[in-house]
Symmetry: C2
Subunit: 198 residues, 2 copies
């Protein structure tokens, strides 16, 4: 990458993408770079308990795909078609020998990885609805490592539109052009109170 | 802000700072801007359950300060002296009426806020050891909102040195010049395996 961006630009481009150009491959080098960024995320008690499995093999990726559930609110949509599937995955695990509480380390690291992906012209989606037993088996992940999330990564081919949330309607939706609309709460709603001046 | 930075530069500057120039004030405008960035962090099921209390009042800040425990590993250090305390706080809460599981929304939002602070020439520290009952009372935070973390913010006056972790020694430490040293695990340690080519 290319042109430097302000954080806000990166954040606006960092949408949850679920359709990709599957033929755009992502090298292990890039995946390692993303983890190297996550290395510098804060960590509670400096424990750094997260461990990662990086996958860019097409066959293994095609085996991971059916272990994931996509876009809970889009009941009619079974997930991306062949050709629009992720070209890489990062499986985020925690080393269970390093304590039971990872505090918010997972989010701190994952946001770092996703922003790094966006900076590279890529994008991703955090998937929590994972058949963990099957993914662990497929990738021979030892029981010591608990699978937290699977990050799907690729070159996005999806238009995501942010819009104002109305009356608490949180569900994202797709229009007839398959543009993906995501309602966001207003700043006013997020700030309970401001104590101080100016 | 000023010069655009690559994400990696931002990340390297985004250390857990615990000593600040207390006379450098942070406006409510800046605090709001940080929350406006967090608005664009991913959110599980698009629920967006986090709510924030913004504090830059000096008197209220001085009342929050004793509710926080600083730097668990520095047993001799009671926290920053007067003059080096945070000039603002963001209290991160969740609206308990929006479900019990926030997944990793907290970390996703907090990393966003901290990177935004760094982009503004500021810095912060995520504090988990909080007297939550007292902070809630002090700021009149309704029971509906569970306090997750307090972010201490200010203009850092501390030198933080990253170093290679040796033999799993995770504890950060201070040298005779009060430089704060933080051991980081290697990239090799974080990557369990790479499946694929190149």
């Amino acid at each position: 990458m290319k042109n430097l961006m302000k954080l806000k630009e990166l954040l606006l481009l960092n949408r949850s993408y679920r359709r990709f150009d599957q033929h755009h491959s992502i090298s292990q080098h890039i995946l390692l770079e993303l983890i190297d960024l996550a290395r510098f995320a804060p960590s509670a008690r400096n424990m750094q308990p997260l461990r990662y499995v990086l996958v860019n093999d097409a066959v293994v990726s095609s085996q991971i795909f059916p272990c994931l559930a996509w876009a809970g609110y889009l009941k009619e949509w079974p997930g991306p078609v062949d050709g629009e599937r992720p070209s890489a995955y990062i499986v985020v695990t925690r080393d269970t020998t390093l304590g039971d509480n990872i505090f918010c380390d997972d989010g701190l690291a994952i946001q770092t990885i996703l922003l790094g992906a966006v900076e590279q012209g890529l994008g991703g989606c955090i998937i929590g609805a994972v058949n963990r037993r099957k993914v662990a088996e497929l990738l021979s992940i030892d029981d010591r490592y608990e699978i937290l999330y699977v990050l799907a990564l690729g070159k996005p081919v999806e238009t995501v539109v942010l819009e104002e949330m109305r009356e608490g309607a949180i569900q994202y939706w797709r229009d007839e052009n398959q543009h993906h609309h995501v309602p966001k709460r207003s700043l006013d709603e997020l700030v309970l109170k401001s104590i101080g001046n100016k």
